[in-house]
């Protein structure tokens, strides 16, 4: 029987789900290169040109819609322009929700991730369970859960704190985010070579100092790409809030369609929604890839 040394990082955790902290990125790039060699052609990469394609789809669909609608009706682009403020206000909502959910999720998720590497088995197992639970639950289900479980206002004494739907949606979306952040943190901490722990222990740092001064600062770089990736996914997932009645862009798009009552607007309006998300998420994706490349070379 070998006892686990008290001050060492736990090495074997139940359910090791290795997140793509860093090396898997190199891995996937290598795999991609291999496939490209095999095919003898370059695989499509996310590109600003895709945005142009989207824009073209929007314009063409608007044109087609116009042709279908026939003369005498308001041109599709004019309709779109008229509704633009309503739609963009909805999109702003998506962004606000994504920001807040990410902030809350990151804050709590970091703690949860650190609890996953705690030396106390109950803390470790408990946080592992919470992480796995929220990580493997469908986002929409969590959203519904928060929507219908949380009250619409809190009463603390005589103080009434309203709790609007979009805040509930934010909380609902922050649950999967915190679970994923927890895994990112755990994965990053475990990816730091054990020599770093040994060296700092031999210098008489205590565990907390090691974690905060030596291990975590090294993790930040490794965590940034998957964290940004998660943010992009979250942003796109904010449209789920439309199903629970939050007035975000997708909801507004549906209402615009209902108000206009013109089936020919269907494609142009949804194309516009798509374009907005692309324009917002694409730079994030590019930046993530750039960061991944840079860190890969440096380490």
């Amino acid at each position: 029987m070998s006892r686990r040394p008290r001050n060492r990082p736990p090495v074997d955790l139940a359910g090791t789900t290795d997140l793509p902290v860093l090396l898997p990125a190199a891995d996937s790039l290598a795999r991609r290169a291999a496939r490209e060699r095999e095919l003898g052609a370059a695989l499509p990469r996310l590109d600003w040109r895709h945005g142009l394609v989207l824009l073209a789809v929007l314009l063409v669909s608007a044109g087609v819609a116009q042709a279908q609608a026939g003369a005498g009706r308001e041109p599709v682009l004019e309709v779109l322009l008229r509704w633009m403020p309503v739609l963009l206000r909805g999109f702003l909502f998506n962004i606000v929700i994504s920001f807040l959910a990410m902030a809350v999720g990151t804050l709590i998720g970091t703690w949860l991730g650190l609890m996953q590497i705690s030396l106390l088995p109950p803390v470790r197992v408990g946080s592992w369970f919470v992480t796995q639970f929220f990580r493997n639950a469908p986002w929409l289900v969590l959203l519904f859960y928060c929507m219908f479980l949380l009250p619409f206002e809190f009463r603390i004494g005589g103080l009434v704190i309203p709790f609007p739907d979009w805040i509930k949606a934010t909380i609902g979306l922050s649950l999967p985010v915190l679970a994923n952040v927890s895994e990112i943190v755990r994965g990053a901490v475990n990816s730091i070579p054990s020599g770093q722990w040994e060296a700092s222990e031999s210098l008489a740092f205590n565990r907390r100092q090691i974690l905060w001064m030596i291990i975590l600062p090294q993790c930040v770089k490794r965590m940034l790409p998957p964290w940004m990736n998660l943010y992009a996914i979250l942003t796109m997932a904010t449209v789920l809030a439309s199903i629970v009645g939050v007035s975000e862009m997708m909801t507004q798009a549906g209402r615009v369609l209902a108000a206009e009552d013109r089936p020919d607007l269907l494609i142009p309006i949804y194309s516009f929604v798509l374009l907005c998300f692309f324009v917002y998420c694409y730079p994030i994706a590019r930046w993530t890839v750039a960061l991944e490349r840079r860190f890969q070379v440096k380490l």
């Binding site: 070998s2 006892r3 040394p5 008290r6 001050n7 060492r8 070579p193 020599g195 770093q196 040994e198 060296a199 700092s200 222990e201 031999s202 210098l203 008489a204 740092f205 205590n206 100092q209 001064m213 030596i214 600062p217 090294q218 440096k298």
Partner: protein, 248 residues
């Protein structure tokens, strides 16, 4: 029971350690007197590195006793952090903190662990880096230094804690041959200055030159020990003879 310098600084008695089913140390006993330089040699996997890690409590032992300055290392009540302030360790893979400069690497532990005055620590760090011949490299990050330079920063980092004994775990094994020498020179100077050193090494020439005592381990036991002269000249155990014939 107060410890006095005439007693062994580090004393291992019948140390046993297993990792799962593999017994790595099968009753190792060894004493290091103050100011002495001890080299442990032996084939890979003979438990040398594990023994070093047991001495500063990075790895717990199953049976036996290890004392440092008279204090039982594996006493559950022992303040491990206090022990580690007395025992410095240098690793094969240097293990410098990559996000800190050479100077910060050296300064970090005295400032945060010993809570010493930053200004004073900084002066000492400059002095130590000068001692390991790295003046001018204070602001360099580990990624910008060669293996040999990194290892010397690691030695300075350990010395900054003013340890009573230094453990060196195959510190030249990962280095390019041309940089091995600069690290060995540093260690020899330390030994000559009277630092108590315990080295696990494959550098036979170096061991012969600096060691006061040489221990040969194989499969978890100490097979043979002696002064460099008698050890290299007339090893008695056939295992030692075989090992030496392969190496030399």
């Amino acid at each position: 029971m107060a410890w006095t310098p005439d007693q062994p600084l580090v004393s291992c008695k019948d140390v046993h350690k297993s990792f799962g089913a593999v017994e790595v140390l099968k009753g190792v006993s060894l004493d290091v007197a103050q100011g002495e330089t001890i080299c442990i040699i032996g084939p890979s996997g003979s438990g040398k590195s594990t023994l070093l890690r047991c001495i500063n409590a990075l790895v717990p032992i199953d049976r036996g006793s290890i004392t440092v300055e008279g204090q039982e290392v594996h006493d559950p009540k022992l303040d491990k952090l206090a022990l580690r302030r007395k025992v410095g360790m240098v690793f094969q893979q240097y293990n410098l903190f990559p996000h800190k400069s050479a100077l910060q690497n050296v300064m970090m532990a005295p400032v945060t662990v010993l809570k010493q005055d930053r200004k004073e620590v900084e002066e000492r760090a400059y002095r130590l880096l000068k001692k390991v011949r790295l003046s001018g490299k204070e602001q360099a990050y580990p990624g910008e230094l060669s293996g040999g330079q990194q290892q010397r920063v690691a030695i300075a980092r350990s010395l900054a804690m003013n340890p009573d004994v230094m453990l060196f775990d195959e510190v030249t094994a990962a280095l390019d041959p041309e940089t091995v020498k600069e690290v060995l020179v540093t260690i020899r100077e330390l030994a000559e200055e009277g630092m108590t050193c315990l080295l696990v090494t494959h550098e036979m020439g170096f061991a012969r030159e600096v060691a006061d005592q040489i221990y040969f381990t194989d499969r978890g036991v100490i097979v043979e020990q002696g002064s460099p002269k008698e050890f290299f000249a007339n090893a008695k155990d056939p295992r030692t003879q075989e090992f030496l014939s392969q190496i030399l």
